[in-house]
Amino acid sequence: MTDSDPIRRVLTIDLSTQTSAVDERPELFDAALGGAGVGIRLLEEACPVGADPLGPENPIVLAVGPLVGLYPLASKTVAMFKSPHTGNLGESHAGGRSAVALRQAGYGAVVVRGRSERPVYLVIDRDGVAFRDASALWGLRSSYTVGGVLREREAGSGYRSILRIGPAGERLVTYATVIAETYRHFGRLGLGAVFGAKRLKGIVIVGRRTLPVADAGLYRRTYDAVYRAATSSDAMRKYHEIGTPMNVLPLNELGALPTRNLASGRFEHADRISGEAIAEGYLGRRLACAHCPVACIHLAALRTPHPSEPYFAKTDMLGYDYELIYSLGSMLGIGDPEAMLRLMDEAEVQGLDAMSTGVVLAWATEAFERGLVSTTDLDGLTLAWGDADTYVEAARRIVTQPTDLYRAMARGVDAAAAAYGGAEFALAFGGNEMPGYHTGPAGHLGYLLGARHSHLDNAGYSIDQKAQTPDRLPDPIGLVDAIEAEESWRQVLSSLVVCFFSRGIYDADTVLAALASLGIERSEPELRAIGDDVLRRKRAFKVREGFDPKALHPPERVYRTPSPLGAVDRGLVDAALAEYARRLAALGE
């Protein structure tokens, strides 16, 4: 990097003492580029062994990468923390505007430590950090209101990001999100609860500065190549036109769309909640993350008649994506698009992770049908597939937690099943609720082996989809190799913090040219070594915090419901898991 690049600056904030410091850490960014690579190193430094995820000792690390503010689609901020959901490595990536704002505020990473005595929000800009009283914002019913208040009160419109939690984060739901701007999130694994435990309501990041380039000619040429690819490729056009929900119909056709707690891989109302149907009936706006010309974010305009005021209706703009249509649609048997959109909006209002919420509600519905939980446990509610209004009520109760059942559900589907039974249909992998792809063994192994237990770690499902028939799947060792190779390369992308949707654009040559234009000379083997090192460090952190690969297994349900590759092959899954456990054990030697 050039000597004037501010990415080397790491801002450390202590909420307990309301103090902060900036350290120059060029060695971190030289070794690991940024993002996930720098994030895991800062987490190793800042998180004591055995830290309580909801204790003041659990740090929040936010990191961006060198391409941010300089290249299109370098638009993610990586958060690293210890997860209150799994009790182990927490990592979450958010789009929106935080990456570009943080980079232009003049930092490569932020570490937030301690716990504030009172609710607080932070304003980070080039001068450092300001601590603002948030006691009046604590307890606001909707995350939208929090965003609106911060937007009005703080400066920098157009050059900033507004991160905040909703009621779910305050109430420590272990899968609470941090909402970025509106409609983007640090989802999964419960960063929102870590904010809540620190009494940290939000972070406003304001940044606008010039970022240096080492070779202006190479910069412009590489920029134009990336920009052209992003605005002209068919894949990117689909992300813009329909967005991620373009997957609903094809996955349903294959029989890979989890439906009614994965009792089936097909949903009879898929055509009503497809990306095409919602776009035709409701699409009201498309949005982009800062510096991304693709604009894959889709908002539905939903007009709702007022219950008592005649001739009056309100129009809401509601975000939707494939994973929400799966988890709060097909998974709950909801085929009415308007009802589904309202349930999605409730997750946004509360600041709940949509995927975990949907899986928890799906488990609760089946547990209720089987008599494992009662109407009393459910605080008077009767859950039924497709009844979205009752699911909205249940989602609110996950946050308010009026009964032991909801207190358990607020800690995830594994916690709920441990207390009430039904583990065989509690759809979590490594403690994290299932994503929306029942494609076959590679998909499920991908969730289990991934460092975050996310479908985004390694896209195992795409191995299933490429194989098309079970006999064309790799053998167990080949399967683990393929999953690890993809996950390793994705560490490079998430250290650069380019969006995974652009992984076809940011191939190794493009990455090397982009880095060279900024004065960062690397070779492809060096990049790949960084990927391997980041993945190794993440796994070592997990082992350090008690992760046992031998305890990994998919829920029984995935073996019962046929996938597009037929019944999921238990022998293949077991052999691959044994191979993975062997590799992890070798890591510690």
């Binding site: 299109p72 500065r209 010039t210 970022l211 604009a295």
Partner: protein
């Protein structure tokens, strides 16, 4: 004829800010500090975006406010800026009702559109276009 930027279709704006980065990149740098165009939400992203750029007024209030003739009226509308005459008084910034005189905090100078159209070339959704000004060219009088 003189050119100016036209905001053709703000409803299609997705807020990607590619225009802002393009403007700053003209001088071979990243970031948006040097951008002469600004895109911000219209009060939350659900309401869409506001695009702020010099509209090349026929009788520009920023030039009239400039006490040192650093900003002068351009034939055909809009202004021309001479940095060496500027005293950083910020009166041009105050004078523009659109807020289109942005400020370069690093150089302490106004950021004045040069009507080159690079930003429009990087707008993926045809929100912006470079067009002829409707003002007839006339000499400064």
């Amino acid at each position: 004829m003189a050119k100016r930027l036209s905001i053709v279709d703000p409803d299609r704006c997705v807020g990607c800010q590619s225009c802002m980065f393009a403007c700053a990149r003209r001088t071979g740098v990243g970031g948006v500090a040097g951008a002469r165009i600004r895109v911000r939400s219209a009060g939350g992203m659900r309401k869409g975006f506001v695009v702020i750029v010099c509209r090349a007024c026929d009788d520009p209030p920023c030039a009239r406010a400039c006490p040192t003739d650093a900003l002068t009226r351009r034939p055909g509308g809009g202004v021309t800026f001479r940095s060496d005459a500027c005293t950083s008084c910020e009166q041009c910034r105050e004078a523009c009702p659109f807020g289109a005189v942005l400020w370069d905090d690093e150089e302490d100078r106004p950021l004045v559109c040069v009507y080159c159209g690079v930003c429009a070339g990087y707008c993926p959704y045809d929100v912006l276009a470079l067009e002829e000004t409707s003002v007839e060219e006339r000499g400064d009088d």
